[in-house]
């Protein structure tokens, strides 16, 4: 009897097979269709952007963890995911170094400075994207058309520019497939939805946030839209709503963990997105909306604590 070899762990002795690492890689897997679509539409430049961002993110994570004398855990996939999202948030026409700078900022300042995995309060890739937009406004809006890479504007920018002219607006079908200008990973709603459905099916993400986010955007855009151009569908398919609602707003770390909180959070994201898109200074508001809701997330969570079981007037 090899008695001393028994492992005594505190209960439960059964644990679900899901691990942090598996979650990260499942999300990465779910992003592959959209990433592939970006390479199809924007060519080798897209691939380079994504690769550079990922490598920079992982390298930064390694260096910072080494400097802080922490355990190196670059294999948990979280840095790869941040890098991937960073790359997919860049316009194809941006200079190649910009993704590297963004990834370094995302990992070093937004994530590791706050203690690393699980301890940041803002989504690193999004914060870095907003920072890049503030730092290099012209480079970060250098959109190009798919395939032939001619400078263009995003559908949202066209719609915002003034009286909507049906001739210049892309077809909804093109927007669904992804055949429009925009950030690398955001154009193909189809590819993103495939990833999103996979994640919801795998129970990696909670349907509440994407549903309430997209629902709010759809409803508000339908109400405030003009003549079917700024329609609900247009705003669902245009810009980064799909990418944001499925992959960024659902970031566990920076969203509330309560069910009610997630509804509020998603609705808030949708509200601010539409606020910025319709009346704000930028054509696109998804990143800012999510970042602003990241800031609100701790408060939302604190005001939506679940009611404990048996919280009723005490008998006797």
């Amino acid at each position: 009897m090899e008695e001393n070899k028994l492992i005594v762990l505190s209960a439960p002795h059964f644990k679900s097979p899901l691990t942090t690492k598996k979650i990260m890689f499942t999300v990465i897997l779910a992003l592959i269709p959209a990433a592939a679509a970006s390479v199809v539409f924007f060519g080798i430049k897209a691939l380079l952007h994504i690769l550079i961002s990922v490598v920079a993110a992982v390298a930064t994570e390694f260096v910072v963890q080494k400097l802080l004398k922490k355990k190196i855990n670059i294999t948990d996939g979280s840095a790869i995911l941040t890098g991937l999202l960073m790359g997919m948030n860049l316009p194809a026409g941006a200079p190649l170094w910009i993704g590297a700078v963004g990834s370094i900022f995302a990992i070093a300042v937004v994530k590791e400075a706050f203690g690393g995995l699980g301890q940041n309060f803002m989504n690193p890739a999004l914060a870095a994207r907003a920072m890049l937009l503030a730092a290099w406004p012209s480079q970060m809006v250098s959109w190009v058309t798919p395939i032939d890479a001619i400078a263009t504007a995003t559908p949202l920018a066209i719609a915002k520019a003034g009286v909507p002219d049906t001739a210049t607006l892309p077809l909804l079908w093109d927007m669904f497939i992804g055949f429009v200008g925009g950030s690398l990973g955001e154009t193909s709603a189809l590819a993103l939805m495939i990833g999103g459905i996979y994640l919801i099916y795998k129970e990696i993400i909670d349907y509440r946030i994407p549903l309430s986010f997209l629902g709010t955007v759809f409803v508000l855009a339908t109400i405030f839209g003009v003549d079917g151009i700024n329609s609900g569908l247009f705003h669902l398919l245009g810009g980064g709503v799909m990418l944001g609602a499925i992959f960024m707003a659902t970031d566990y770390v920076t969203s509330p963990s309560t069910a009610k909180g997630r509804w509020i959070y998603g609705i808030g994201c949708g509200l601010i997105t539409i606020l910025i898109r319709f009346w704000g200074g930028y054509p696109e508001g998804v990143s800012f909306a999510i970042l602003l809701m990241n800031i609100c997330a701790p408060l939302i969570e604190n005001y939506t604590l679940p009611t404990k079981f048996g919280k009723v007037a005490k008998v006797k």
């Binding site: 400075a113 503030a134 730092a135 290099w136 480079q139």
Partner: protein, 201 residues
């Protein structure tokens, strides 16, 4: 004797640097550190106000009733601030416009009131003057350090002289609000790190 003054001076600049060690006067530090020149002039004004208010408060320290000392200090400080405000408006009009509201706001810069309360009201005129100069210099140095990062990276210049090549993609955000907060935060962290290292070494 001499040592005492020297110590007060170095205290102000290094060991008790108002911005880096005591984290006082953060509003102007964030607002005017977008360019080294702004930092320099703001620092100069703070040195002026701090030194003179310290001296006057020290001179009057035995006459000001304890109960109303804070309003008295504020009036004294506000007077000197008004003097620099008018001087700047007259001779440095551009800079006066750039620094704008932050000149009258020197009144509520916590450094000045803090030194009045904790130093000038207890020490001799000369000593208080040295303290004012030291603290002011420390503040000025801190502003200029932060401003160096921000101006070089955000505008490609240092003291308005171009140091980065013209085509260099400067990060506009550095001279704006987020850049201010994050740079100051990182510089503070760096200084903490250096201090911790030098203490253990």
């Amino acid at each position: 004797m001499k040592n005492k003054y020297l110590k007060t001076l170095t205290d102000g600049v290094v060991t008790e640097n108002p911005l880096f060690r005591l984290v006082l006067g953060t509003c102007p530090a964030l607002a005017v550190s977008s360019a080294v020149a702004n930092g320099f002039w703001m620092g100069l004004m703070v040195i002026f106000v701090l030194t003179f208010s310290n001296m006057l408060i020290s001179a009057l320290r035995n006459f000001i009733p304890d109960k109303i000392r804070i309003p008295c200090y504020i009036v004294i400080i506000a007077t000197f601030v008004t003097i620099v405000d008018l001087l700047m408006a007259a001779y440095m009009h551009e800079m006066h416009k750039t620094l704008g509201i932050f000149i009258p706001l020197i009144v509520v810069n916590c450094i000045i009131l803090a030194r009045a309360e904790s130093f000038a009201s207890k020490n001799s005129i000369l000593h208080s003057a040295v303290d004012g100069i030291g603290m002011g210099l420390g503040f000025m140095a801190a502003l200029m350090i932060v401003a160096t990062f921000r101006e070089v990276l955000g505008n490609g210049t240092f003291f308005n002289i171009r140091v980065l090549p013209a085509g260099f993609p400067v990060a506009k955000v550095m001279v704006e609000a987020p850049g201010a907060f994050i740079t100051l935060g990182l510089v503070l962290g760096l200084i903490n790190l250096i201090t911790a290292r030098s203490k253990t070494a």
